[in-house]
């Protein structure tokens, strides 16, 4: 009882010490992590929306997009990172590519579903009052599909916060650095603390990002289609 309690307390204390000693690095890494994820999410959203706009009118293309998205998600992120090191080397670029790739998939799937779920009558009346195809897409279909797209973005965000940590393997930015450096010298000084800080940091970031997205969805979803 006593020793183990002491031990845990000791570990806890040591983690706390670690945090206190290097909080600037931690904050910086967290900020970089969040920044990488957010930027990749924005990029992924744009990509997914453009792709979905290209495919949603065709049943075959929509099915294809869904298939690609489902299969893409089964690729282990670590393997993809490994593959990308050859052409792109180490650094931020492969990290960005991997994170964006995985972030795009759930958003793409939701965007296609969202655009296809808009009642034909609504599209017909948009066209009927003289909106061009593009205008219909931009002012009617996308805003109406937006809540579903945002749900995809939230799923993506949760997923790629973890993937971004893995992507730090290529020396990309973020909290993944703490995890990898800790794991690589496990048993050494502060190794365990480093891993804990990385993991907990990732979880906290995920929660913060999700809250931000909830706020974003409140702000950007029309009252008329809020549930």
């Amino acid at each position: 009882m006593q020793p183990s309690a002491y031990g845990e307390g000791g570990d806890g204390t040591r983690v706390w010490d670690f945090v206190r000693d290097s909080y600037q690095q931690i904050l910086f890494a967290s900020w970089q992590h969040l920044s990488l994820v957010v930027q990749c999410l924005v990029l992924a959203t744009v990509l997914a929306v453009v792709l979905s706009a290209l495919v949603y009118r065709s049943k075959t293309a929509s099915a294809l997009a869904n298939g690609v998205s489902a299969m893409g998600l089964t690729i282990p992120s670590f393997a993809l990172i490994g593959l990308l090191i050859a052409p792109f080397g180490f650094g931020v670029l492969p990290a960005v590519i991997v994170v964006t790739f995985f972030a795009t998939l759930p958003i793409l799937r939701n965007a296609v579903v969202g655009l296809n779920s808009i009642p034909a009558s609504v599209v017909e009346s948009a066209r009927g009052i003289g909106m061009s195809r593009f205008r219909t897409l931009a002012t009617v279909e996308l805003p109406m599909a937006w809540p579903i797209i945002l749900a995809g973005i939230r799923v993506s965000a949760q997923m790629v916060i973890g993937i971004a940590a893995v992507a730090a393997y290529t020396l990309g930015p973020g909290l993944g650095g703490f995890i990898f450096s800790g794991l690589s010298r496990l048993g050494g000084a502060n190794a365990f603390e480093s891993v804990v800080v990385g993991v907990v940091g990732v979880i906290l970031l995920a929660i913060i990002l999700d809250l931000l997205l909830v706020v974003l969805s409140r702000l950007t979803t029309s009252r008329g289609i809020r549930v």
């Binding site: 009052i129 003289g130 909106m131 109406m144 029309s222 009252r223 008329g224």
Partner: protein
């Protein structure tokens, strides 16, 4: 082109635009028969034309070809003399109001944003759009301060439908296309919306093309009814009166159903019969003063009007004598009808309220007078007698208009086609008589033509229009004229089957 001139000409007199479908065909890919086959049809400016027919006969396809939501495979759409078949479809559609079932509103936009869409696309400034939105909300009887900022989901079905109509009218288009606009609302709301549409039309004089499944609705709303068969073959295109009195063939007879005699009653509208004057008062007046006025007028009941002139209560002298002051509460059970209501709707309202009269509301629901059960009964018997009688009562058919299709005869047409005046005033009796005879003879022709492989639908057409927009001269008239006046000027203006290869 003479045809072009003709149409422009007719349009000078009304705010609506004439529409000509010239040998229009729609062949969907992978189907053996065309959904619309060689349809030629003129829709006179300023009138309401109703499309009816069995499901799948091509009504919607025909309607959507007018604003080119569906592109015709062949043929031309001519609006106000301009061939619009090749113009930019989006631009065309901004000039044509379009209303579909349940309004087709955009759920993520407020009522004001929905209504303001077309003006916004046309580049109006914000203030002008806002003013127009309020004006239109008033027009469809919704209070702008209450409804402007609502979202579609916060509206009832009938209100959504009204907003749909308001949105379609936003940029004041000359043409309004409606596809089963009132199909999704309950019967009472439907009646209200129909009346409202007629009131709006009385005010605006648009050209309205409306698809419906409900023949009664077609009779009530239509200046003209086109009855289609498979492939958008026109079986009959005529005024409601004459279709009811003279179905051109068995198909039309079956379509009308056995209740034709009763349907005749829906032809008579409240505004066509005499209304009784009523004593009116405002909330807040003293009951004694009102009773004094009633006694002076020798009447029993007073109608209380709100600030917009709408009837809110209907009180007897006895009720008044028990009051301190006249309240401004609205009685929900008033037997209210609209000027555009049919007489049997008025009768219905009286029966429901167990009263011997009903309160009539006109434009924007303002009270106009009383209609009594006796008036209704008289009008019904008179109407039935007229319907049973000779088919010459309805006018539209001034043979004269056909050769004169060119320029300055429009005013003449207008006079001639006034429903009540025409029989007596315009033209000589002989001409009128011959027209009628020719018409009934022609009535069976579309079907004959339909049997011929090549002579599809072409021959229905080219009516002209009148200031009143009602009872314009007529497609079959033109046939008459071509039969009688071969080689006449009018002939070249018209699309005739035999002119085609």
């Amino acid at each position: 082109m003479s045809e072009t001139q003709t149409i422009q000409n007719s349009a000078e007199n009304v705010s609506g635009a004439s529409i000509l479908l010239d040998q229009v065909t729609k062949q969907y890919p992978g189907q053996t028969k065309p959904a619309v086959g060689g349809l030629t049809m003129e829709i006179p400016a300023g009138s309401i034309v109703m499309f009816v027919g069995p499901s799948g006969c091509g009504k919607t396809t025909t309607l959507k070809m007018i604003n080119r939501l569906i592109e015709p495979t062949d043929g031309a759409i001519v609006i106000n003399g301009d061939n619009v078949t090749d113009m930019n479809g989006d631009k065309l559609r901004r000039q044509i109001g379009y209303v579909i079932q349940a309004g087709g509103l955009f759920p993520h936009m407020s009522v004001a944003a929905n209504i303001g869409l077309v003006p916004k696309m046309l580049g109006w400034d914000k203030d002008r759009i806002a003013a127009r939105v309020d004006e239109l909300l008033e027009l469809v009887s919704l209070d702008p301060t209450v409804y402007r900022n609502r979202y579609p989901k916060e509206l009832s079905g009938g209100q959504q439908q009204r907003i749909g109509v308001a949105r379609a009218l936003a940029a004041d288009p000359p043409i309004l296309l409606m596809d089963e606009p009132f199909g999704a609302v309950d019967p009472i709301t439907r009646q209200r919306l129909q009346n409202e549409l007629l009131n709006i039309q009385a005010e605006l004089q648009k050209t309205i093309v409306c698809v419906t499944h409900d023949f009664d609705e077609a009779v009530k709303l239509g200046d003209w009814i086109a009855i289609f068969n498979e492939g958008a073959q026109i079986e009959q295109y005529d005024s409601p009166e004459r279709i009811l009195a003279n179905p051109s063939n068995e198909f039309v007879e079956n379509f009308i159903g056995s209740g034709a005699g009763l349907k005749q009653l829906t032809l008579n509208r409240v505004h066509e019969v005499e209304q009784q004057k009523a004593v009116t008062a405002a909330p807040g007046e003293s009951p004694e003063a009102v009773i004094a006025r009633l006694q002076e007028a020798g009447q029993q009941n007073v109608v209380i009007l709100d600030s917009r002139g709408r009837a809110i209560q209907w009180l007897s002298q006895r009720q008044l004598s028990r009051m301190q002051v006249i309240s401004d509460a609205a009685d929900p059970n008033l037997p209210l009808v609209n000027e555009q209501s049919t007489l049997n709707e008025a009768l219905d309202a009286m029966l429901v309220a167990s009263t011997s009269a009903a309160l009539v509301a006109g434009r924007r629901d303002a009270f106009t007078g009383l209609i009594t059960v006796n008036t209704v009964m008289d009008a019904i018997s008179a109407g039935q007698a007229a319907a049973q009688g000779d088919g010459d009562a309805p006018v539209g058919l001034n043979t004269g208009s056909i050769p004169q299709i060119s320029d300055d005869d429009a005013p003449v047409n207008a006079a001639a086609t006034d429903r009540h005046a025409a029989t007596n005033t315009e033209g000589d009796a002989a001409a009128a008589g011959s027209t009628v005879a020719a018409t009934s003879e022609n009535a069976s022709r579309p079907r004959d033509d339909a049997r011929e492989p090549h002579a599809e639908n072409h021959d229905t057409v080219n009516g002209h229009t009148t200031t009143n927009g009602h009872r314009a001269p007529w497609d079959e008239t033109r046939r008459d004229s071509s039969a009688t006046d071969r080689g006449d000027v009018g002939e070249e203006n018209l699309t005739e089957t035999r002119d085609r290869p």
